[in-house]
């Protein structure tokens, strides 16, 4: 792998990390903690939305985030020919 390829690969990886970790922060810290009172005024089924994010929603999103990262990185590895 050439130096420029390596740089591009790493940059793309960091880009993915920035996006996915922003979502990670948003669903747990923002929805579940910082804005919990505001979101609690919205209700669906028997849940207040902020409470739901803190005790359910954030965890579902966490699982999805990891599998999305796996999928993105497997594609990226193939593109740069560094998959095993």
């Amino acid at each position: 792998m050439s130096k420029t390829d390596m740089k591009a690969y790493w940059k793309q990886n960091l880009g993915y990390l920035a996006i996915l970790l922003s979502i990670w922060f948003l669903v747990s810290y923002v929805f579940g903690i910082l804005l919990v009172n505001q979101l609690n005024t919205i209700k669906f089924a028997g849940f207040k939305l902020g409470f739901w994010f803190a005790q359910q929603g954030s965890m579902y999103v966490f699982v999805i985030l990891i599998f999305v990262y796996v999928w993105l990185m497997n594609k990226l590895d193939k593109k740069y020919g560094v998959d095993e």
Partner: protein, 563 residues
Amino acid sequence: MGILAWTWILVGITFALYIGIAIWARAGSSKEFYVAGGGVPPILNGMATAADWMSAASFISLAGIVSFTGYDGSVYLMGWTGGYVLLALLLAPYLRKFGKFTVPDFIGDRYYSNTARVVAVVAALIVSFTYVAGQMRGVGIVFSRYLEVDINTGVYIGMAIVLFYAVLGGMKGITYTQVAQYCVLIFAFMVPAIFISFQMTGNPIPQLGFGGTGEDGIYLLDKLDGLSQELGFHEYTSGNKSMIDVFAITTALMVGTAGLPHVIVRFFTVPKVKDARVSAGWALLFIAILYTTVPAVAVFARIKLIETVSNAEYAELPEWFGNWEKTGLLKFDDKNADGVVQYVADKEVNELTIDRDIMVLANPEIAQLPNWVVALVGAGGLAAALSTAAGLLLVIASSISHDLFKKIIKPDISEKGELLAARISAAIAVCIAGYFGINPPGFVAAVVALAFGLAAASFFPAILLGIFDKRMNKEGAISGMIVGLSLMFFYMAKYKLGWIGDMPDSSEWWFGISPEGFGTVAMIVNFVISIIVSRVTPAPPQDVQEIVEHIRIPSGAGEASSH
């Protein structure tokens, strides 16, 4: 058949299974002992990680904690799952590519320094020992409650079992027993939860059920908010803790999770880098099955309990109440001598003291489920405690035999000698853990919760910077780890254990952050110190910078090796 008979049968069958697996999966080499030969399929590694991760506390206490704290309990739910995102995205793939056996291995090589290695070994030992003592105690408690044996006898039985499969099988034996233990514990947790959800809401899926309505057509959460306020507790869906403390505790738990050596080492056991990524996903999925059920169980159990005992005639309470009174987990003190149970927030008037563990332990009885379901909870609790204890013991054993003995004291030790040293260290570690299980120092319970803060303050920044900051050198990493650890220790000693002067009031906490959340502050300090110190000291040698380039690319991971 009675509960006791069912419990003996279920515990007997599961223990026989664990021993059978241990004999089948004996370790033949030090590589098998440390990382199960590096050949564990990702899904199985996910299950093993989940069992390793979910301790007696997750299984027995977590639902109770959430049940009594409501929204505030979210810090554990988000904290202990969100850490896996950090692990999968920031640490696991690179550490797997690095391809060594232990966390101190990485720190020692990346920071080209035996001092760094020793600091990491010490941190790993402190974190693992505080954590494992709680697990052995957990084994004893489950034994005593379900099998009517003495707590200490319970600890001895637990020690014997763990000794057998950890010493014989090493990581290989532990991994495959953990897979079995995951199946046992998740089945044991979900069966009662599904029964109760169906009973209370008509929906068998607990995660949906607790957003549903009860027989009276009122949403369960609204009902619980109402009941809580009526009795003088805070509203269930909002909390008591300050927002900054909730933020800090969640962060400390997330980052601590990602920095715990017994969790990280699990990702050394899979064959490839991409397996390390995906097995973190599987691990979190398997963990989330339990963790998303926990808040549902918390709500069901709390409503059932309040409805059954609040303002009930003491003489007419169901049989389970008396059974759990005998264990001391429930205490009724008829202060106004009216024969009626007053359960309220006001301590002067309240007559009922409830141990939070009862929310999981007694829940099946409260919901009048069949005896075999009640017995299952005992087998599940044991699986959770044993699997975590074994994982921690392995970290302790490999820290001693590999990081200290092989890498520092006697580098020319033979493969056979190292394997023997690993087995002896594991055996000694079991005995020490057992000793603490039988004679728990008063501060263990307080310190276990802080193990996360310690991991967050020491390992996480050193590993993260080791991967993402090529310029990070040994001076930066070592000073960061030492300052982070010391600061965390100081805050713990002063504000949690009261060792320095009088125990200060919570109003004196720095920035209003509790000791549980202080790991976040110590971690930030570690980051800042590491970066500043590294920028004013020489850059790491060229070959180390090449290692960093090398671990960023997945291909050519090869097999985990000791060289």
